[in-house]
């Protein structure tokens, strides 16, 4: 009731909508849209809980890919022949769909990449070319994926900039006081995950960005694990750069997006040189193409872009808010159900989380658990999840990670719980 004492209209309307969509969420019909979910693994029904690594693809995405190659395939931006025109139109229409999906101000701010890793490397490399100076400071967190650590270490090595790392608290959240203390007049950039792939923590991103901006630092967001689970508005966040991967959002592999504010993208030097990114080439002086093409050297993943737009259409049809609500329900149910297993240790217990439960059971090695669960048809990820510093922080060799997607169900979580119980029976 206390919540209702100070209601904003916005809050009331939103929560009503999401409750409605929860009731209306037809997970069985969603499942029917994903052909792979009918596969058997070791004669068992597949339970796919490795969505943080990559998501499965709906039929509409798969069909878009095959249709492109069977009916539309041509290179883009290069030919006046019909096929090339059609391919270029579909490719640029995909940019429009993606722009809307993240609420970017202009299509010039939507740079196509190979994925999150590609986007972060683009920004880190471009900043290393005459922008970062010795003694400049870059702030990341102790919870980052290796692909939001290593490009910055490399940038520091090339430029003499210094990397600073925000501490992780025992509950799996970031130490925001420590973060504030790291922000100085030397801070040029904060590069931060939106949501942790290893333990699922959702960071207070808006606050983190605002603090960085008041220190006059730029902010790069690794949005790989946020975009699949909630609607993201890069303008409302006021992110300067925001990278994510198509394959984690029900789209194809090898394609991704780097959003950047237009003036910043203009300011950055190009990343790779090649075809498409130039205006004129001569041996005396080459001039570069306008945004976003300045950053898109070479033939892009054309089919990937178009099929990713199909994935977005699919998500929009189901409704991002409905997906979020469904997945939050799974998380709550999963925390409860797994929590009842003796010896269960959920890493980052108590943090606000998106679609990831990372855990250990007694002394059972994740490798053993993962092997047994696989035999039961349950796909989980085991190991360090490309976040070795975070594992060291918690002094663990790795975890068992169950990560949920829009098609997962409570009965699949029951199967996981049963599986873990069985593993305990053998190994504990």
């Amino acid at each position: 009731m206390s919540e209702l004492q100070n209601p904003t209209m916005d809050h009331v309307v939103k929560s009503n909508i999401s409750e409605l969509s929860d009731i209306n969420y037809d997970v069985e019909s969603v499942r029917n849209d994903f052909p792979i979910l009918s596969r058997k693994i070791h004669d068992q029904d597949l339970v796919y809980f490795d969505n943080a690594a990559t998501t499965q693809k709906p039929a509409s995405v798969i069909q878009t890919l095959t249709r492109f190659y069977s009916e539309q395939n041509a290179n883009v931006h290069r030919g006046i022949h019909t096929l090339s025109q059609e391919a270029s139109d579909a490719f640029e229409a995909a940019r429009g769909t993606i722009k809307k999906f993240i609420n970017a101000a202009s299509e010039q701010e939507v740079v196509f990449t190979t994925g999150t890793t590609g986007g972060i490397n683009l920004v880190a490399t471009a900043l290393s070319r005459g922008i970062l100076r010795p003694g400049d400071e870059i702030v990341i967190s102790g919870m980052e994926h290796h692909s939001n650590i290593v490009p910055w270490q490399m940038a520091c090595e090339y430029t003499g900039a210094i990397l600073k790392v925000i501490d992780v608290l025992p509950d799996g959240t970031l130490d925001l006081e420590h973060y504030e203390s790291l922000l100085t007049e030397k801070t040029r950039l904060v590069s931060i995950g939106h949501t942790s792939n290893a333990i699922g923590t959702i960071h207070p991103l808006k606050a983190i960005i605002d603090l960085a901006h008041s220190a006059e630092a730029l902010v790069m967001v690794d949005g790989a694990q946020a975009v699949p689970h909630e609607s993201v508005d890069v303008v409302a966040l006021d992110a300067d750069f925001f990278a994510f991967s198509s394959h984690k959002v029900y789209g194809p592999t090898g394609f991704g997006v780097l959003y950047g504010k237009k003036d910043l993208l203009e300011m950055l030097p190009p990343y790779q040189g090649g075809g498409d990114m130039i205006e004129t080439v001569s041996f005396e002086k080459t001039t570069y193409n306008t945004l976003p093409f300045k950053f898109e050297a070479g033939t892009p993943n054309i089919a990937g872009a178009i099929a990713f737009a199909a994935a977005i259409d699919y998500l929009n049809e189901i409704g991002m808010d409905a997906v979020r609500k469904h997945e939050q329900g799974l998380i709550e149910y999963g925390l409860d159900a797994l929590g009842s297993i003796p010896g269960m240790r959920i890493i980052g217990d108590g943090c606000p989380r998106a679609s990831v439960i990372s855990f250990l059971v007694g002394d059972i090695h994740p490798y053993d658990a993962g092997t047994f669960l696989d035999r039961m048809g349950i796909a989980v990820r085991t190991g360090h999840h490309c976040a070795m510093p975070l594992m060291n922080r918690f002094k663990i060799p790795g975890t068992i990670r169950a990560s949920f997607g829009m098609y997962n169900t409570r009965s699949e979580i029951d199967a996981l719980v049963k599986g873990v119980e069985r593993v305990r029976g053998i190994l504990a």
Binding site: D368, F372, R375
Partner: protein
């Protein structure tokens, strides 16, 4: 009694033992049991020098050269890997270096455990097999 069993004989014996179990579950239980009886490397040798980097699970392996034969003590932090290490050691322990160098471990396929030997599993087992062969190559005088 026969003197020293050949690799092939040892492997056949393991395959026969595993054939006694009907399902994968029992086979894994047996594998883990075998791991418990592994001739374990002493804790003092669980150091960088004897560690095999596997990423997901780790293996420690220490050779002991006696004349032209090599004996192994080993361990792993994961139970399944420990069982597999025990099998590899059981097949090779006390053999001549030349025999060890040629070992192929096809029997893992026959007992349904071949997947664990893949380097992409990152469990240290495939690196261990490499290392075993390196040890067999090393100069005996050392």
């Amino acid at each position: 009694m026969t003197a020293v069993q050949s690799i092939a004989e040892r492997e056949r014996e393991i395959v026969e033992e595993f054939a006694l179990f009907d399902d994968w579950f029992e086979r894994y239980e047996y594998l883990i049991e075998l791991g418990e009886s592994l001739n374990k490397i002493e804790d003092e040798y669980k150091t960088e020098a004897f560690r095999i980097h596997g990423c997901q699970s780790q293996v420690w392996l220490r050779p002991d050269y006696r004349n032209d034969k090599v004996f192994f003590k080993a361990d792993s932090d994961a139970a399944i890997t420990r069982g597999l290490v025990a099998l590899v050691v059981r097949v090779l322990d006390g053999l001549q270096r030349s025999e060890i160098r040629d070992a192929r471990f096809d029997f893992l396929d026959d007992i349904g455990m071949n997947e664990h030997l893949s380097p992409t599993r990152k469990n240290g087992l495939s690196a261990m097999v490499e290392q075993v062969k390196n040890y067999a190559r090393e100069d005996a005088s050392s």
